[in-house]
């Protein structure tokens, strides 16, 4: 079982390498320049716990190889977002994040973004952790920088549609509300110039493994998350709307995938042979699913809805 297979490939062949670099730089910037309340020791402990958990799960589920990248991303994201009094809870978050990928699956696709479910479940069930959405401040330059860096990551992940759709819907809702309230536009601009929101948009909702497989599905998903986030933030007046909303809306992903089938995202570029087999397999399974769908669509009302959603009607 080769360890760290990515070392043999070029550094940026996988979008996650870029993501890891950016998250690590943000963490260093946050700790040094913005006084993030996370000690180096704790950050290291969180990252190591995530990696060890990934390793243990790889063994337990008898996977072919240990891939540290996803766990590293979860660990770094937790360092950036999660704050807790006790280190035990911070480490528990790392364990939950990684284990959730293995346990909470629907049709071999994990349901929740690991970092998101770790934070949300601990906030909901312990009340002893928190996220400080204001910690980044609103320095325009910094927002810009993060947007650029994040943009690069999502472009490389070839699933930037969900990010752009989310930010477009969320901006429309935030601006719309301010215009309706006749507030000066500096207010919605200030709200959108938030580092935490950018981090969410470019590094969390963009996770290609937990968003719907089809493009139209991802756009519907982005709308649901944006609306939920806005509703929690501006109708219920609670903080961290995007985080709560993503966790809740993730439950709709299997439904969206069932209604709007498409190929699942794979991180790694396979070699031609492997890829050909994979494409063949996925085509066959898609055709099989569609046949299944047709059968299920014996009911006329449902069929119209499905055709509509697929853009066929």
């Amino acid at each position: 079982m080769p360890l760290f297979p990515q070392l043999r490939t070029s550094v940026f062949s996988d979008p996650r390498h870029y993501q890891i670099t950016v998250l690590a730089s943000l963490l260093v910037y946050g700790v040094l320049a913005l006084d993030f309340e996370i000690a180096a020791g704790r950050a290291a402990a969180i990252v190591v716990t995530a990696l060890v958990t990934q390793f243990a799960c790889t063994r337990l589920w008898a996977l072919e190889r240990f891939d540290p990248r996803s766990a590293l991303i979860s660990g770094l994201s937790l360092c950036l977002l999660l704050r807790a009094n006790s280190i035990a809870l911070a480490l528990a978050a790392a364990v939950i994040a990684v284990v959730s990928k293995f346990i909470i699956q629907v049709k071999h696709k994990h349901l929740f973004n690991p970092t998101n479910i770790a934070i949300v479940s601990l906030m909901a069930f312990t009340g002893q952790v928190w996220v400080s959405p204001g910690q980044w401040g609103n320095v325009a330059f910094f927002a810009f920088l993060m947007a650029c860096l994040g943009g690069l990551v999502v472009n490389r992940a070839k699933r930037s549609d969900v990010t752009y759709a989310f930010i477009a819907f969320y901006m429309a809702l935030v601006f719309g509300r301010s215009i309706w309230l006749a507030e000066p536009l500096t207010i919605p601009v200030h709200r959108l110039q938030n580092g935490a929101l950018l981090l969410f948009t470019f590094f969390m909702i963009s996770d290609p493994r937990t968003t719907p497989n089809s493009r139209i599905g991802r756009i519907i998903f982005a709308f649901l998350v944006a609306f939920g986030a806005w509703y929690i933030q501006f109708r219920l007046f609670r903080t961290n709307g995007p985080l709560w909303s993503l966790a809740i809306c993730s439950l709709t992903v299997p439904l969206l995938d069932w209604l709007l089938p498409a190929n699942r995202y794979e991180w790694r570029q396979r070699t031609c042979g492997v890829k050909a087999v994979q494409v063949m397999y996925e085509t066959i399974s898609t055709v099989a699913r569609r046949v299944d769908d047709r059968r299920r669509l014996a009911q006329p009302g449902a069929s119209r809805l499905l055709r509509l959603l697929r853009g066929q009607g």
Binding site: R83, W136, N138, F237
Partner: protein, 424 residues
Amino acid sequence: MAKADTKLFNKASQVVLVRQGDRTVLTMANDFRGDPKEFAVVIPVPVVLQKEQVHIGDKALLDHLDAYSAPRLVEYFDEDPCSVLYDRLAMATPAAPGLAGGQMASSRSKSLGVTIEARYTVGEYDILILSALQSSGLETWLRENGYRIPAGASSVLSSYIRQNLKFFVAKVNLKEQARLGYTVLRPIQVAYESPKFMLPIRLGMVNADGPQELFVYALTRNGRVEATNYRTVKLPTGDELPLYVKDRFADFYKAMFTHQAMKENMSAIFTEYAWDMAWCDPCAADPLSPNELRNLGVFWLNDSGDPQRGAPRPPIPIRSGPQNAFITRLHVRYDAAHFPEDLVFQETSDRSNFQGRYVLRHKWTGEGSCEAATRYRADLPRKQEREAQSLAALTGWDINDIRRTMKVAPPPPEPVAWWQRIWK
């Protein structure tokens, strides 16, 4: 004793925000010194407040809270280096109060779309709760009724009206004030239930000349309070400063705050104190008694028969008090350019203690001649230079002025490298 006058900051407001769940008790204090006839407040509130939800508090409670949570000086006396052990003495100085004013009279007009939802007199204040359909109507109504509200208020009022907020309007009832015999205006307290954990600051910024100062004392059950839509930053703390700061502590605190606010681009909120209200170390003032806390609105103290429930025991309880209240003192200097939206807060479960605390070290002047004493004396100029540097860094004061006041010589220049002399 170092003393900082409570009028340290101009145009300062003090607000106590007691919150658990959606229940909020808001205490607003002001140091309005003008003619009471001129005094009025207009505050957007989320619900129509009934008479029983309004109470007039005691300014002394806020002063106590201020003194308890203010940034403090600690003095240490260097011991004979030939022996070891430190003695210490604590002291502190409070900060500042105030609340914006306006103007008032009485009469009303339905045609302006303004509804008086409630009207009552509490203590020396006549209070109205208004709802409005249109900002221009409300503005006209307030003007016609003698409130001198600033031009441009209408644009701010309109967004509050659309959010269905009500307006809490208070003026001084001179007869009641004379009957009650109070010469200073007492703080107004309101209790309400709303998911909104925020402070409206936008009305106060209309037509304001220059930035305003706000102190928020948040009293919560679980832990520290922070802003969610602005950066919350801890005030620098723990630095060792030159001894003369003792006599100029007020100047120091003011200069430091200004300098730090500028370093954060004038757009951050500062945490000056975060502590379990059961104790303090060192204490700037005694912790508040359960009774004082209840008067400030800490309603959950009634809920538990045992006031010590729920919180871990402090390692060194200096003085005893209720355990399940946590105070966060926030200090913000705001203006419209840097604070476009109202302040929104969240309560975290962070119970770690923080205080703005500055250290003065009296040097040891004994005659000892052990090796440690020689080293101690040799090290003194460097220590003093370090103190001067810290003070300069915190306040932005000129380092040479500081050295002059300290009566110390600047450190000898760094030895010049040979290559620096070649092309002189």
